[in-house]
Assembly symmetry: C2
Homo-oligomer: 131 residues x 2
C-alpha cells in the first residue's frame, strides 16, 4: 500500500506569545515553510479574529499548509499536507516550530490516500491553474 | 484534558468520478457542508490542476475545511477542522460523503490543542476580521 499524500499534524505548545497574534509574521513563516519543503506557493489567506487568534491557509501546488492560533493558550495547530515525491514536509514543520519558538512540539504523520496500486514514484506533479 | 478544536480526517474512496473534477460542484459542496456544520463561511479558494485533480479550502470563522481530489483514483481527502462548542463537523462530513457518493468512507477524529485548563464550554467564538 502506498499513500498519495503525507499529512503532518503539528501540535505547538508553549509558543512565543506575541508571534501567535502577528498575522504578517505567521503569513511569512508559513510561506517560507512551504518553500523550505520544496513546495510551490499558489495563494495565501490569513485572518485575524477578535479578541485574538489567527487562521491562515497557504495553498500550494502540492496541497496546503494551515495554521490556527490560540494566543491565550500559547498554542498553534499546524497542518502540512503534501503530495509528490519531491516535497519534504518535515522541513516545513521544523521551520514553523523554530519560528514560533515552541518549547513543546508534537508531530504526527498521517498517510492519506492509501492505495494498493500507487507507483512508488508516481509522476503527477500538480501544476496550479486557477479556476 | 479538553480540546480546543475537533479535526475530522475523512478518507473518501470509490467516489463518483466526475464530481471529483468538477470545481463548482466541490466548492458548493464544501460551502454547504460548512453551513450544515453550523459554521460561518469567510472565504473559499479552489484550484483546478493539470491534468486533473482539485484542491480547495473554505476558511470558516471556526477554522477551515479542505479537500484534495485524485479523480484517477476516485479518491478525495477531506479535512474538517472546527473550534467552538456549537459546530457539528460530523454533519459536514456526512454531507460531503453523500455528495461525492463515496462507497468507502473512513472518518478519523483528532482532538487538537489538548489543554488541562480549557473550560467545557469555552466562550470564544471566532468572528472573522479580514487582515
Amino acid at each position: 500500500m502506498k499513500a498519495l499524500a503525507r499529512h503532518l499534524l503539528l501540535e505547538l505548545k508553549e509558543c512565543r506569545h506575541d508571534r501567535l497574534n502577528d498575522i504578517n509574521f505567521l503569513r511569512e513563516a508559513l510561506k517560507d515553510a512551504a518553500v523550505a519543503a520544496g513546495a510551490t506557493v499558489i495563494q495565501d489567506s490569513f485572518y485575524q479574529f477578535a479578541p485574538y487568534g489567527i487562521s491562515g491557509v497557504v495553498i500550494i501546488a502540492e496541497s496546503h499548509l494551515s495554521i490556527h492560533t490560540w494566543p491565550e493558550y500559547n498554542y498553534a495547530a499546524v497542518d502540512i499536507f503534501t503530495c509528490g515525491m519531491t516535497t519534504r514536509p518535515e522541513k516545513a514543520a521544523d521551520l514553523i516550530t523554530r519560528r514560533l519558538e515552541a518549547k513543546d512540539a508534537q508531530l504526527h504523520e498521517v498517510k492519506r490516500g492509501l492505495m494498493p496500486d500507487v507507483p512508488t514514484s508516481y509522476p503527477r506533479q500538480k501544476v496550479g491553474l486557477k479556476a
